[in-house]
């Protein structure tokens, strides 16, 4: 069994926009050449500002959005070459948890129907068997089974997210894309859901792609973290390394913006403020996408596209001005 469950190579997802009956519009390059491996049993955090393509990447891995080009291999099998029907059968193994726990539950169905739907889709089980499995799933995610006949609008945000998690677990998947599963919840509930996800990972030996726009949310749950900027992965490292020693200027800026608990450190530390706005993915800058805001940008950054390079052991960054010999951008 190979260590990598998922291998993504040069994945691109472009959305057509503004296309009328005749003529053509321009494309939104939501994911623009991502290569990434996800290891069996790990939690890979995926962070980046809103709009950088995280959700699109997550959905493309499950082929809920069709990629424009590139390849995704899942457990040694090329997902993008599967027919619609074959892909449908694989869906048992790959599941998703959504950001908005209200929008992701059909308002006309009861909790029992929602959680049972994937079971009934994949297996021919009797009503009673399905019900007893739903009951167990509800207990697993911390919901009382006596609410099985209730409707989504009768629950709080945190409880709805538990329903969504139970639905995702119903077919006993191996891989879960959790797309900002806590960002729509009250702060007091966030930790509960994070703990639930962490417990489930251990109990059911799950692999997670955990998406968030908030570096703090992924810090504790992730083994490794990938940082995205305008459709590309710009840094990838073990969670600790990424926080303690960010290499790529964009990651450095993100981390320097995080508040530090110790007030003395907080007062002394230097903060990198980025100039300008994030450019539109409709018309991203040439070369390094970050060059319009990078404090270290030079002329060549506008021309050549930097690749993810292993700068330090297990620590990858995409910046053409640093390398294994010169890992620190400040001293280049």
């Amino acid at each position: 069994m190979s260590e990598d469950l998922i291998k993504i190579r040069d994945l691109k997802v472009h959305y057509r926009t503004g296309r009328r009956l005749f003529g053509s519009g321009s494309d939104v390059r939501a994911v623009d050449g991502v290569s990434l491996d996800i290891r069996r049993g790990e939690t890979l955090g995926l962070v980046g500002e809103s709009g950088c393509g995280k959700s699109t990447l997550g959905r493309a891995i499950l082929r809920l959005t069709e990629p424009t080009s590139g390849s995704i291999s899942y457990d040694g099998e090329d997902l993008l070459s599967l027919s619609g029907g074959e892909m449908r059968r694989r869906r048992k193994r790959l599941q998703m948890i959504f950001q908005d726990p209200y929008a992701s539950l059909d308002p006309r169905m009861t909790v029992g129907q929602i959680i049972a739907e994937p079971i009934r889709t994949f297996e021919s089980v009797s009503r009673r068997d399905a019900e007893s499995r739903v009951t167990r799933l509800m207990e697993t995610v911390g919901l009382s089974p006596k609410f099985i006949r209730r409707y989504p609008h009768e629950f709080s945000g945190g409880q709805r997210q538990r329903i969504g998690i139970a639905r995702a677990l119903a077919v006993e998947p191996e891989f879960l894309v959790a797309d900002e599963p806590i960002s729509a919840l009250d702060v007091s509930i966030q930790a509960q859901i994070l703990n639930l996800l962490q417990d489930l990972r251990a109990e059911q030996r799950l692999t997670y792609l955990f998406i968030s726009h908030d570096l703090r949310a992924v810090r504790h749950i992730s083994d490794r973290i990938a940082v995205m900027y305008l459709g590309r992965v710009v840094e990838l490292a073990d969670a600790r390394d990424l926080y303690d020693d960010p290499l790529m200027p964009y990651t450095q800026a993100l981390i320097s913006a995080l508040p530090v608990p110790d007030p003395k450190v907080e007062a002394r530390r230097e903060r990198i403020t980025l100039k300008g706005e994030i450019p539109s993915p409709l018309d991203p800058p040439e070369g390094c996408h970050f060059h319009t805001r990078c404090p270290y940008a030079v002329e060549s950054c506008k021309r050549s596209t930097p690749q993810l390079v292993e700068i330090k052991p297990r620590h990858f960054a995409a910046c053409s001005r640093i390398g294994p010999g010169t890992p620190d951008i400040r001293s280049v």
């Binding site: 499950l62 539950l105 059909d106 308002p107 009768e154 077919v171």
Partner: protein
């Protein structure tokens, strides 16, 4: 509700339908409309038989010596008086109600079937197909609907009716029933012009639904396209569709009245509320009851339908209240 008890009886949830029903029951006008419509439907279904049984009058019964019975004011024998042929207006209003309500219901059903199918195909397929389909709707919109109905009735009316309509008329009303086949044609003609808005309503709904996360979630859990359409999309479009259908019924009934006024609708001895009112207008100055009773009955029904439709809209979609 954060700490949940681990045991206990299964609690019944309140579905959105039940919630909506309870909101509807709190709306006085809507309840009034609903009650009136139920009474009106019962009256037109069983009323003519009761009148015939108690008084011997039917909608087309003309007494042997009509001069004695023409245009009589309301009395114990004729609650709504008689018309200028000596027929009992009460019996005719009830019989006309059958046709008026049927025109409303059948035409709305036709527009529902065509509109929902057309709209959900356009919305779900999207892209270029959607674009072409909706341009066609735009073009049809631009043609005055009354023109379409008139042309349809002129081309297929009377002796030119398609065979299946003649067959339908013969089955329902007996051999060679020309008046009835005109009415049946009217049902379909009105239905076929009133599906346009329905198609737009449904397409808009489907378009906004198909990108919702719960549709994505259904796809992610392997649900096939028919399952997505029938289990998720259609139940969620039903609210606005019901509301719009309820409001289509009165508008179709009014159109029928207008067509009858032009002489294109229901022909004697059949009657609809529209044609009765039209007959009554001629004698308004001398025999006002010939207009007042059919007119009031129709107005009451139209108001009730509109009250019910508005109430349903508020009940099914509490977010989009009228401004």
């Amino acid at each position: 509700m954060n700490e949940l008890p681990k045991t206990g009886k299964v609690e019944k949830g309140a579905s959105l339908w039940r919630d909506a029903w309870q909101r509807l029951l709190k709306n006085r006008l809507a309840v009034f409309g609903l009650v009136v419509l139920i009474l009106m439907s019962t009256a037109v279904i069983v009323g003519p038989a009761i009148i015939e049984w108690t008084t011997g009058y039917t909608y087309d019964f003309i007494p042997d010596d009509p001069t004695l019975y023409r245009s009589m004011p309301p009395s114990a024998a004729h609650w709504m008086g008689t018309d200028d042929a000596g027929r009992d207006i009460f019996a005719r209003v009830l019989q006309g109600g059958r046709i008026s309500l049927l025109v409303g219901i059948i035409s709305t059903a036709v527009s529902l079937i065509v509109g929902v199918t057309y709209g959900s195909i356009a919305g779900y397929l999207g892209g270029r197909i959607d674009n072409v389909m909706m341009r066609i709707v735009d073009i049809l919109y631009a043609i005055p609907y009354i023109l379409i109905v008139i042309v349809l009735l002129a081309v297929f009316g009377s002796s030119n009716s398609p065979a299946w309509i003649k067959w339908l008329a013969a089955t329902v009303g007996g051999e060679g029933n020309q008046g009835l086949s005109q009415i049946i044609l009217l049902f379909f003609a009105l239905g076929l012009v009133s599906w346009l808005t329905m198609a737009r309503v449904v397409r808009g709904q489907v378009l906004s639904l198909k990108n919702q996360d719960f549709i994505l979630a259904a796809r992610a859990t392997g649900v096939r396209v028919p399952g997505i359409i029938f289990r998720h999309i259609i139940p969620n479009t039903l609210g606005p569709v019901i509301v719009y259908a309820t409001l289509t019924v009165p508008s179709v009934m009014l159109t029928e009245a207008f067509l009858s006024y032009l002489g294109l609708g229901v022909q004697p001895p059949y009657a609809s509320w529209g044609s009765l009112a039209n007959d009554g207008i001629k004698n308004l100055a001398i025999y006002p009851w010939q207009l007042i009773f059919p007119g009031l009955t129709m107005a009451l029904t139209l108001f009730s339908l509109n009250f019910l439709g508005d109430g349903l809209r508020d009940a099914l979609d509490p977010q989009t209240r009228k401004f």
